[in-house]
């Protein structure tokens, strides 16, 4: 039996349109936008700058401070603005996904602020946020070992699929839906992986392989966006 996705996508197909744009916020040291289907994220980077409060300074290496926020109009039902349990968690996750590639040891006692805002949300927001943040960090001229690209793999009933939208995330037939956001470098090194739902280890491997291919695709889009802004 071949599983059919409601929007007619193949299992390993990403949502369209995928847009990336760099340098959207003139006041920031680096900024970027990333759109995947109906999900749009914007990221702004400020710094490296003086770290306040002083007691949180690290004299060995710099600090990366991420702030993820969903704007109140980003979903159909207005969400209450301000930090929530969910947004604090995703902020932390984003930090962990980006820290392995950012060379913070060059900026002891300093901080790099990354602000991520979702202006439209339709599942996969943390992935869109990480993609935008990676581009914004590069645009800010911060030394990085590599770029990172993020994509969510998933499972609908028994089929492994890629890049679920909100409608698919709420899928409840059979085994239901599983969501696996993965962040990796173009070399295939994973910096972040989460799993929400049930999956066999065999299918998890399949999902990672799928995400690896898709992250290369996203990397090319990020690369193109960064090169475009310099030529302008």
């Amino acid at each position: 039996m071949v599983f059919k996705r409601e929007d007619g996508r193949k299992p390993e197909e990403l949502r369209k349109p995928i847009n990336a744009k760099v340098g959207i916020i003139p006041n920031a040291d680096g900024s970027a936008m990333y759109q995947s289907g109906e999900t749009i994220a914007i990221a702004a980077v400020y710094g490296p700058k003086e770290h306040h409060p002083r007691n949180q300074r690290n004299p060995r290496k710099g600090t990366l401070r991420c702030n993820y926020n969903m704007l109140s109009f980003s979903v159909t039902d207005r969400i209450r603005p301000g930090p929530s349990r969910r947004s604090t968690e995703i902020s932390k996750i984003t930090e962990w996904a980006l820290t392995p590639v950012v060379m913070l040891e060059k900026y002891p006692n300093m901080v790099i602020d990354v602000h991520i805002h979702m202006i439209q949300a339709d599942a996969g927001t943390r992935c869109a946020g990480i993609n935008a943040a990676a581009m914004a960090l590069a645009h800010a001229g911060i030394p990085m070992k590599n770029l990172v690209s993020s994509v969510a793999a998933g499972k609908l009933d028994k089929t492994v699929v890629l890049d679920l939208d909100k409608h698919e995330e709420d899928f409840e037939e059979g085994e239901g839906s599983t969501d696996i956001p993965i962040t990796m470098t173009p070399d295939g090194e994973i910096t972040h992986i989460q799993l929400d739902g049930k999956i066999t280890s065999k299918q998890l491997k399949e999902a990672i392989e799928m995400a690896k291919k898709a992250s290369k695709e996203i990397y090319e889009i990020q690369k193109k966006a960064l090169k475009e802004v310099g030529e302008k």
């Binding site: 700058k49 990085m144 070992k145 960064l226 310099g230």
Partner: protein, 227 residues
């Protein structure tokens, strides 16, 4: 003297392959390959590969002439904001004449702008100097701010660009490496004219053959100005 082809590079991208190349600023050697660590223009000369930054905050370097603003005063010097992460410190010893311990404000008070040179950068901070020609407190004129990464274009090859702007507008211009530019002319109109020219250069900084472009711009401006 080969014409270097510069191309935009992103972090993690391979610039060149080969054992003979040496990694310079903003690059790293991984096995046989020279890999970029930051976003910018890749340049290769004499087997040395480096990345010229296009964006980001100002990175102070020894010997840079910068324009700073007095932020704080203590008993033996002034703290200047030079647009870098650390504040710069200008010692009282740098002032050639005798200054009373309570009279530091009389020389430079909080909010004053000063042209300074970066003397040294160490763990404690940045030490500044004003013991050189062209340095010192700014008494009058106009200070404008541009992106620090565009300063090399504003100065031009061996100062060609800034010399042309100076000649055309009749203003005295000091370009700080931190992106602050001090314009001083006889008339305010001339200062504003110079400001317009500099902002034009900063905006068009990506064009090759920029000096000719600016020459044309001056010609068209002069025609319109005389009527």
């Amino acid at each position: 003297m080969s014409e270097n082809t510069r191309k935009i590079i992103i972090p993690g991208e391979i610039i060149v392959k080969g054992e003979e190349f040496l990694p310079g600023d903003g690059t790293e050697k991984r096995g046989q390959e020279i890999v970029a660590l930051r976003y910018g223009l890749a340049e290769e000369s004499n087997k040395l590969v480096k990345v010229i930054p296009l964006s980001g905050v100002y990175q102070p370097r020894r010997g840079n002439v910068v324009i700073g603003q007095v932020e704080n005063i203590n008993f033996n010097g002034w703290f200047l904001n030079i647009g870098a992460v650390d504040n710069g410190f200008l010692s009282l010893m740098e002032v050639p004449r005798y200054v009373n311990k309570d009279g530091l404000e009389e020389v430079m008070k909080i909010g004053d702008s000063v042209v300074v040179k970066i003397w040294s950068i160490n763990k404690r901070g940045i030490d500044l100097s004003i013991k050189s020609r062209g340095l010192g407190k700014i008494e009058e004129g106009l200070i404008i701010k541009v992106n620090p990464n565009k300063v090399p274009r504003i100065i031009g090859k061996e100062g060609s660009m800034i010399k042309m702007i100076k000649d055309e507008t009749g203003c005295n211009i000091t370009v700080g490496q931190n992106g602050l530019i001090w314009i001083k002319g006889d008339k305010i109109e001339n200062e504003l004219y110079a400001k317009k020219a500099i902002l034009f250069v900063a905006e068009k900084s990506f064009i090759s053959g920029l000096t000719d472009e600016v020459k044309k711009w001056f010609e068209s401006e002069n025609k319109g100005g005389k009527k």
